[in-house]
Point group: C2
Chain length 290, copies 2
């Protein structure tokens, strides 16, 4: 498992960290970074995150043996269109998209027969920091990477991508795109929406300055993910709209139940809900769900 | 500002840390700790958090020059009843309750003429850790403490309590009980409910083990406050019910608006909301609302 030439399309936190990890493990000879932001690309080059930079996706991909697509997901169609005719027959393509059903559908619709070369993946290593400046070679250590391989993929190619991610220190597992999108709507996409919603709600008040001035450590941690990349999260919302709406409605029902407990002064029910949530979270923190 | 004998009623994270801070700054001679949990009290004594322990509130308060009430707020009435007839005329009483309207109402209803001796306060230094084991002398450094002084209080007594908290490293400010309860319903009480609600929602699913197993750093920080003390938060919900319901309904409206953006595929509105929230949070992190 060694790749002469790797193209990373979108040199942000994930793409940059992937490049650094591969270079550190000597799993490739050369990484070319591609992106829309010239300043970010220049930073990636200066910091040695990539070996060269390129603004034209087609030029970067032409000689690549491995391509990582790590842009916001709504740009995938454009990327696949640009690479479908120039991708080398033996090259592998993988991605870091936070949603999988839409990515797979887009890949099927654009890549044609080359769909066999595309192994969908999702490294679970997001952070509210973004851009090449946040990249680090150890980002994936201990983190999960979900592969959502296609029926068309060759088993040895899927194994190669799995081995690559394992080499970065990640824990690799597999899911169907459907399962993936349901799971991450619940444990990632919805919490991001909820955090954005709270900051938006507080920030829109006439006394928002006073409210923020008394916000403490609980508020800071609860809203950390509201500092995430707006375009990336817009794209996730569009791509996984139906599952996120399901989760939002389930959560709204839970809030209505809590509202009812408050209305009826049902202190025992509130305490039971809090205690149950705390106990579940402690089990999770203790690794009982690994 | 020196207190011969201090009684701390409820030697948890806040009460224990207050005691440690006072002892370290040599602002008192002796701290007696009072509480319901014998094991927690014993730990507090063994770790030198308090100088002696006592199970009877009346005995502990009889000779005290300063009393800190730092139990969950629904226990305040019982505490005030027990101390009202034995409190020394020159002693000061303050508290660490997370709500203020109910605490003030309870104090007025129980303490009679001794209400003059009670200076309400709220140190903003909660954490999901609780109990004497989590106490540390530096807990309040840089944190806010809100005083909600009463018309009956003597100015020099309010100044003494303010100076005491300042000595622990806290930033002291003042609010009315009404203002306090509105502000903390928005920036503290509601976020706690939201975090408990998410963990409860995820934990109640048939596939909760799978969901938890893919929950990452964003979920961990978002739900950190769902590991908070259930009884304490039950009491806060009961005590500040009306304001929390106001905040919950405002938040539910925000979620409905976001649901509508998803339903109508309004990607631009979603991105604008996310970008606005991120910008507001960055301003807050940069200290623009201090």
């Amino acid at each position: 498992m060694f790749f002469e030439r790797v193209a990373v399309i979108g040199v942000g936190l994930i793409g940059g960290s992937f490049s650094l990890a591969l270079k550190e493990k000597k799993l490739c000879r050369h990484v070319v970074g591609v992106g829309r932001g010239a300043a970010n690309l220049k930073l990636a080059l200066e910091r040695g995150i990539v070996d060269s930079i390129e603004s034209d996706i087609a030029v970067a991909v032409r000689d690549a043996d491995l391509v990582l697509v790590s842009t916001p997901v709504l740009q995938f169609e454009n990327t696949f269109q640009k690479i479908k005719n120039i991708l080398k027959p033996e090259a592998l393509v993988t991605d870091a998209g936070s949603t999988k059903r839409d990515v797979v559908a887009t890949a099927r619709a654009t890549l044609g027969a080359k769909i066999v070369q595309f192994i969908p993946a999702h490294p679970i290593a997001g952070a509210e920091r973004s851009g090449a400046g946040a990249a680090n070679a150890e980002l994936f250590r201990g983190r999960r990477v979900v592969l959502a391989p296609l029926a068309e993929n060759r088993p040895q190619d899927v194994e190669a991508i799995a081995a690559l991610w394992s080499a970065t220190g990640a824990r690799v597992s597999r899911m169907t795109p459907e399962e993936h999108d349901q799971v991450f709507a619940a444990v990632s996409h919805l919490p991001h929406l909820l955090a954005y919603a709270l900051v938006s709600d507080v920030g829109g008040r006439p006394n928002s300055a006073q409210l923020f001035s008394y916000a403490g450590g609980g508020f800071r941690d609860f809203t950390r993910i509201a500092s995430s990349h707006p375009e990336m999260w817009r794209d996730i919302c569009v791509a996984n709209r139906d599952r996120i709406l399901d989760e939002l409605h389930s959560y709204e029902k839970k809030l209505q139940a809590i509202g009812q407990m408050l209305e009826t002064k049902d202190a025992a029910a509130l305490e039971a809900l809090f205690a149950g949530a705390r106990a579940a979270r402690e089990k999770w923190l203790n690794g009982e769900y690994e």
